[in-house]
């Protein structure tokens, strides 16, 4: 599937900001399941943009010293996604959980088994894990699908119910949150169960079509910002994406930008500046499907 992403972040400052330093993780990565065909990052005011590569993906950064009352960051990309039907990979019949007890596996994926500031491993998640275990079969994939569904059923997607620093304990209590909370909470359950898992930031194509300008399907959640989901390590040592916010196994409608231990590793845009105390941020994200062309 050929998808085009337009992601605009607009900051308006009450009084001029200056000495602004910013780092962006906005470029979709390329792996076996997707290829980033084109990427363009521009800003208003115009600045020189620098970049470096990490083992996961590319990071861009820039600074802006002159006083400015707005800062707009536009990321545009074109991505070809080619995820095979995820269910073809999921083995649902035999007990394959021994894989997660292997010491070599626990070492190789240690960073995705650990507790982090945003993904603490706390006894409070045991309740969810227990229900998911009781409702699933012996295979780990069955547990993952069940947990994904359970998350979707128990927790209500509610924009504004949480902010970027809400703890998973609070989310557990209020049973409401946004995709970031769903992902962090699910990671905590998975890691407590000893399943290596990572936080993924990206975009979800919800039905916009370039040709028809259709309205997005209202049932799926992704607009207004970037999306987030999790990836779990399967016993064949490949990663499979699960989206607890939508109860979906990740397919070709998903565009992956970055992954890490938690949100802090993948923060799409972070910045510091002097001056203005108040700023207003507006985000516009649109994912459209392009007509398939022969490459």
């Amino acid at each position: 599937m050929r998808l085009r992403v337009q992601h605009i972040t607009h900051y308006a400052y009450a009084s001029p900001a200056f000495d602004s330093h910013n780092e962006a993780r906005l470029m979709p990565l390329s792996d076996e399941e997707q290829t980033c065909l084109a990427f363009r990052l521009t800003t208003e005011p115009v600045v020189k943009i620098f970049e470096y590569d990490t083992p996961v993906g590319r990071v861009h950064h820039f600074n802006l010293h002159q006083p400015h009352s707005i800062l707009e960051i536009r990321a545009e990309s074109e991505v070809f996604t080619n995820r095979i039907n995820p269910f073809r990979r999921l083995q649902l019949v035999t007990d394959d959980r021994d894989f997660y007890r292997r010491d070599d596996i626990r070492q190789r994926y240690a960073e995705f088994l650990t507790s982090t500031e945003r993904v603490p491993l706390v006894p409070e998640t045991e309740r969810i894990a227990r229900v998911a275990r009781n409702q699933s079969g012996v295979a780990v994939a069955s547990f993952l699908i069940t947990l994904n569904r359970l998350m979707h059923r128990v927790f209500t997607y509610s924009p504004g119910a949480t902010d970027v620093n809400t703890s998973i304990l609070q989310v557990l209590e209020q049973e409401k949150g946004v995709c970031q909370d769903f992902a962090h909470l699910m990671l905590s359950v998975l890691r407590s169960e000893g399943i290596p898992s990572r936080y993924v930031s990206g975009y979800l194509h919800t039905g916009h079509d370039a040709a028809t300008e259709d309205e997005p399907e209202q049932t799926r959640v992704s607009n207004e910002a970037m999306h987030a989901w999790v990836e779990c390590l399967l016993p064949d040592e490949t990663w499979c994406g699960f989206d607890p916010t939508n109860n979906l196994v990740v397919n070709s409608h998903y565009i992956k930008v970055h992954h890490g231990r938690d949100y802090s590793d993948v923060t799409p845009l972070k910045g510091l500046y002097r001056g203005a105390i108040d700023s207003k941020m507006k985000i516009f994200v649109r994912v459209t499907r392009e007509e398939e062309r022969l490459l």
């Binding site: 330093h21 910013n22 780092e23 470096y52 083992p55 950064h61 600074n63 070492q107 240690a110």
Partner: protein, 526 residues
Amino acid sequence: MSLFESYRTDPFFDEMFFENGEPRPHYRKLFQHLKDMTPEEFKRRVALADKTLINQGITFAVYGDGAGTEKPFPFDLIPRIIPADEWDLIERGLKQRLQTLNLFLYDIYHEQKVLKDGVVPRELVINASNYRAEFQNADPPGNIYVHICGTDLIRDADGTYRVLEDNLRTPSGVSYVLENRTILTRVMPFMFRDLPVRPVDNYTTQLLSNLRELAPASRQENPNVVLLTPGVYNSAYFEHAFLAQQLGIELVEGRDLEVRDNIVFMRTTKGLERVDVIYRRIDDDFLDPLVFRKDSKLGVPGLVHAYRHGNVALANSIGTGVADDKVIYAFVPKLIRYYLGEDAILPNVETYLASEPDSLLYILENLDKLVVKAANESGGYGMLMGPQATKEERDEFALKIKENPRNYIAQPLIALSRAPAFLGECCEGRHVDLRPYLLTGKRGMTLIPGALTRVALKKGSYVVNSSQGGGSKDTWVLAKEGMSQSQGNGSQTQTMGSMTQTLSSSKSQMGSPLSSNPAQTSKGNE
């Protein structure tokens, strides 16, 4: 009455005396110089030294001690002497160790072969609190991570030198090495007579030359080197000011620097001035709020990007703390074998890792015999001295260990060697350690022939940390027979003159704290 009349060595290894009370050969001359001195005479010298310390503001701060935290660092006037052959062993051992640790750091921030080969469990490195994933794949100049290293050595009951701790982040204390020597040459000049004491004052010259060499290729001609301090409230601020003056470089705080398009500049009264090398005495966490702790007001936003792009050099590099972690410490002998194919010249102290189930059991059952340390604390904080702790203290610590085994190690209590210290009326044996300073530059490693000897002045205490009531001694490394390198009093007097000047100006700076604007701070240093 003489200084050593009632001196007892039992039951410890004594640096100065054999068990029978005879001075060891390398201490014989010093003993001759001191044996007829009266305590009254010695006390007069102590008073003179104390006055110098206070006048020069040689102090450190103790955290968690409420108001008025600045204290003078107690200085014991009886030097610790290390003969040439012992120093040779220390030198070879420390260089072997630091070479290994630099290779280890490069490896774990690049290919991670050592982890893939299972020499160190990957989990211990990747999930260590001082591992900086943000710095993966970045290349520091010359692939050197640790430019300044201060390793803590101890001597056990047999007199064997052992490594107790590696300090690869921002090791402090070298200012006392330089200052102690200066003061001692002034108040006890006769002690140096006929002894080939190697001079320590080329430390700053070597350090400066190493730092300058780190500058980006295009800036080699006349690189601008600065010392970045967290500010006057840091426990080592005196040292920061002292070293900046000795090196002849600017002492700056984070707010004095700014990054523009990956170039670091210093704000001065004449405008922005490019900075090429930063001797930073700020921890990683506080270095750059954009990349690390965003609440840090001490750092410089954009600094890590500038470093990544090779436009500025940092000493030490980022992420070195993962290699001086007390858990990784236990693996260093293995790492030496892995990277160099050699056996460790300086042995470790036997170490139990609470992260290993069998060891955890052993640790919990033997808490009354062991010293337990938190993996990432330093300065004697977060530590349990089992044999001296109360049952409540041990129980409390056991809980902490069980909660987070990865964070604790345990070692048997080593009967640290003792050296005579003057305690008001006469000399008594007190436990000592040894912190030599090793520099790595693009052209090799240099060990300063001297060290900080810390002494636990409290009777029976094993804790030498300045924050826990320790003092220091001048440390004399003797030149090999036939080499005449003795400490010249003449040159010292000269140094002394400039030092006094130096210190008075750094003091006046300490007197004008945070309110000054950055440009003025920079100017104050010129």
